[in-house]
Symmetry: C2
Subunit: 218 residues, 2 copies
Amino acid sequence: MLSRSEEDHLKAVYSLLQEGADAFTNDVATRLHTKPSSVTVMLKKLADKGLLKHQPYRGVRLTAKGRGLALMLVRKHRLWETFLVDRLGFAWDEVHEVAEQLEHISSEKLVDRLSHYLGEPAFDPHGDPIPDRDGKLPERPTLQLTDCAVGDSVRLVAVKDPSDELLHLLGGKGIGIGARLKLVARHAFDGSFELHTAPKTTHTLSAQVAAHLLVERP
Amino acid sequence: MLSRSEEDHLKAVYSLLQEGADAFTNDVATRLHTKPSSVTVMLKKLADKGLLKHQPYRGVRLTAKGRGLALMLVRKHRLWETFLVDRLGFAWDEVHEVAEQLEHISSEKLVDRLSHYLGEPAFDPHGDPIPDRDGKLPERPTLQLTDCAVGDSVRLVAVKDPSDELLHLLGGKGIGIGARLKLVARHAFDGSFELHTAPKTTHTLSAQVAAHLLVERP
DNA sequence: TCCTTTATTTAGTCCTGTCTAATCTTTTTC
DNA sequence: GAAAAAGATTAGACAGGACTAAATAAAGGA
């Protein structure tokens, strides 16, 4: 049984890793609005419980057990968000704070019944995937960058058939998994894209490259 | 803003008083599965916040503010119980523990929307009244003792048109508000009742008296 | 009434989770 | 490659909430 704070830390680690970044003490502290020293202590506790491996000064990695528990928290959070929006009529931007509280309710039966009541949804109101009771995430409805329109903001979730050459090209532009891409133009001549990876950073990608990039909204 | 523990103590005091008894330190401790010394400390905290008056060695009384907050907790608890039973298909005896957790979720909007979603119910699955958002309890569907059948176990909730003489008669038999009455026989000759007020204590009440007693199940 | 029992409170301890301040690593910069 | 900066950890303090043990108040019985 985890305390509320332990659950918060575990989930913060999970989502940082999910976003492609490493999970460093500072990042966790920022996310939880707390201080790095407090995070260090909690990471040690979670490591002692076998939920993650903590390499001092090097960040953390989740164990299978830790990932499983984190997925159950994500499941609860997203199911409650679905309930709040679909059934109680909350707006999608009002639900996070309340769901943060609801996700700590501990009752497996409640979670499973809620999921059933909602029709076993696979995605929450934000489009995020809801893990099933075994922790399996549904396939994301990914789309190729070439299917996006100018003005879209998307996030890179996978690279299809990643060759060394392709990955090197992307790496050189600072584009990795989790990168946020905003399409600003598309050239009719060769189908190449202009996109922002950051407010002032513009890159050009050929149509061949774009066809390998799987993205999601938002 | 009250802590979870403060809320638990406040609600325990409220329900003890509701049951007609005084709220003594020991009773609160028993109800919360904690020690009297811990309760004393918490009662002091709640008294400092103006939610109750604590007379050392003499028990506590709630202030209007304290009663109001307690009623909001009761409201949340009973609304969630209704949700769990009516919507998620829980059995009535499975819901208490989960509702104990859910009642601490703090979001006025959530409570009001939940109530609306459930059709503004006035009574929970156990038949207990659900306070409205202003803390007002609905009228109980009381029934006269004369409408009860042999074998019923009921609780005295009110005395209709209480005259001094009637109250004196009841007082002499040790029957007061909150008393649990089990009907063991009814005489066809004059409509009088035989009932237990305790396992081995039998009393006889005339039909005239019984008609003044308003009771509830269970 | 005095003494015993029971109920309550007080004092001091411990555990959890947070913080600040100080120390120690790692990375960056010149 | 050494010094500075940034990031992480450790040590020590503190608040909340629980406990045990000891002291105190109220209630009951001889």
